[in-house]
């Protein structure tokens, strides 16, 4: 019980530390941190369209975050989700602009299944095999494959097979049958607001991930392999198979993120291939302590930082990059969780020393 409480308090401390240090940096630079944070909150949640934007932006973060959480649970660090995201995006867009005669449900399902498969193969096969056969660290292999995927997108779009007719390096847009619908009604306060139905997919993915991890034998084994590979091996589990499967499952979710983002928001591949979701997704799962439901909250939090930062820059003049600084600080303090114990124990021992002194003097 105490452990569970600690799991929640460290991320909260870290967020608080990030916001306070961010405020100090703003003060030093001559800005008013309260009005900056105020406009950030308004920008993220102040209207129906702001809320729609924030939740829509949270979708890829939640999906990638779930993928990374699965890998972490299996004791693996998938740092290359960015590449798996793009492989998913490529396949989703390709299916999206072919087959315009399919019914929407079939077309969307096919495109998303393709995206998941692409992400799973890109994340699972090479990193999984090299990790379990020769011990190549998955941090390096997934990172390298991520760069290869990004160059692959550039290749496809710059005079490559997926370049749309014309001179702009972009793909053809997906067919209307492949586009994910808007969840908000087009009336009243929602008339200018959009919420991608990808948000429902993200919520469903979190629930499914939670069930798989905590309610199935597969999930139990996956966590056992992550927690204690030697014991898992001794119990007769194939660590090789679980390494490949968990990295594949992780890539599947990242690929799904790419697919959902393409069908719901971008609707085509652009040459500005740098989503950053692969990295922010790591931050999301870290802050959520790899808990699928907490990933939803963490995803919305970082989406709000990013969406609100634009309003913050316009209204209070603080550069939108400030939120990256805050994100960095938060991750640092989540990783340095012992700092709080260390700090508190020092304060405690100092207090104890003082009171000892007093009793000795008294």
């Amino acid at each position: 019980m105490k452990n569970k409480l600690q799991q929640m308090t460290v991320p909260l401390y870290a967020v608080l530390t990030g916001l306070i240090l961010g405020a100090i940096i703003m003060l030093i630079s001559g800005y008013n941190p309260l009005s900056a944070y105020g406009s950030l909150v308004v920008g993220a949640f102040g209207s129906a369209s702001a809320i729609g934007n924030t939740l829509t932006s949270a979708v890829p973060l939640i999906l990638v975050g779930l993928g990374i959480a699965v890998a972490f649970r299996a004791g693996l660090f998938n740092i290359g989700a960015e590449g798996q995201y793009w492989m998913g995006a490529i396949v989703a867009v390709w299916i999206g602009y072919h087959f315009p005669t399919l019914t929407p449900i079939l077309h969307i399902t096919l495109a998303l299944l393709g995206a998941m498969l692409a992400g799973a193969l890109w994340g699972g096969v090479i990193p999984g095999l090299t990790k379990s056969l020769v011990g190549a660290h998955e941090v390096i292999t997934t990172m390298m494959l991520s760069y290869i995927a990004i160059f692959f997108v550039h290749y496809l779009l710059e005079q490559g097979p997926m370049m749309a007719p014309g001179f702009v390096p972009q793909s053809r847009p997906i067919a209307a049958t492949a586009a994910l619908p808007n969840l908000f009604p087009a009336t009243g306060i929602f008339s200018n607001a959009t919420l991608s139905s990808g948000f429902l997919i993200a919520l469903a993915a979190a629930a499914v991930t939670h069930i798989v991890l905590f309610r199935t034998t597969f999930g139990y084994r996956l966590r056992t392999v992550g927690h204690n590979p030697a014991a898992a091996k001794y119990a007769g589990m194939s660590v090789t198979r679980f390494t490949i499967l968990s990295l594949g499952l992780s890539g599947l979710l990242a690929g799904l993120a790419g697919g959902v983002q393409m069908l719901g928001v971008d609707q085509q591949l652009n040459d500005s291939v740098s989503s950053g979701f692969g990295y922010t997704g790591i931050v999301v799962s870290l802050l959520a302590r790899n808990n699928p439901y907490a990933v939803i909250l963490a995803g919305i939090f970082f989406a709000a930082l990013s969406v609100g930062s634009q309003t913050m820059q316009i209204n209070s003049g603080v550069s939108a990059n400030m939120t990256d600084v805050i994100t960095g600080i938060i991750v640092f303090f989540v990783a340095a969780d012992r700092l709080y114990q260390y700090g508190f124990s020092r304060i405690r021992s100092r207090v104890r020393a003082k009171s000892l002194e007093r009793t000795e003097q008294g």
Binding site: T130, V134, T141, D337, R338
Partner: protein, 310 residues
Amino acid sequence: MSAIAQIFTNPELYAATISMATPLALPAIGGTFSERTGVVNIAMEGNMLIGAFFAVMVAAATQQAWLGLLAGMLAGGILSLGLAFTAIRLQSDQVIVGMALNLFASGLTAFLLNTVYGYNGTPTNTPFLPSITIPFVSSIPFIGPIIGHHDVVVYLMLLIVAGSQYVLFHTKLGLRMRAVGENPEAADTVGIHVARMRYLGVFIGGMLSGLGGVYLSIGLLNAFDVNMTNGRGYIALAAMIFGKWTPLGSFGAALLFGFATALSIALQNVGISANLVSMLPYALTIIALTGLVGRSRAPAADGIPYAPSK
């Protein structure tokens, strides 16, 4: 066909290779120092960015490029102390802290660029580091145009390659640093201060990565731009692994990767996709890890915090 042959016989391709290898070799050697003492370092990108920014800031303020160089190296070193402290004292996950520092550095430098200099960017009168022409060498045909004339940081880098290889593998200090990265318990038993060696390794790593950033901002240019390192810190990570965690190997890998970059630019003119050539360094790194071209193995205690049992 002759167009391609012309590319390969042009000394400019090889001069560009050396120039492009410099901001890879420096952080790769920096990472080598850190990981040889047992601290996994993926923060080279952040150290480079911080180094690049503060080099421009100090150079512009003092109108002294050399002070800019020192400031950039020191800034990289100071940022890396964040990694050192959390890795050594708090036994944090080193990959995650490295990632945090990269995010922090990328955000902070972009924020400072906007806040300090506004939309016009860094001052146009920022001094840059001088280029050097080596007498005699520069007049040798073919070789001269390749190595005879470069920015001073390129020659500094060559000295650092040789010096680092010597220090790590032929001095008592280097032996101690490596011992701490291979078997900290044993090193501790014979009286080597494990934490001190690790702080030193990470700090040297940060300074060398910072110097890589300095080369980009006041060596090649005299300006800082948002995320101007453009992932070089991560390629340097690949170079370090491909170079089997040695300075000389890192340099060789940096040359290979630099060549791939220079080649991809040159080949663009004859219609071969630069994007496909650019994948090479990353693919080679995976192959190197699988052992097809000689297995690349990390120091045994790399990434494992040392908690002495008293």
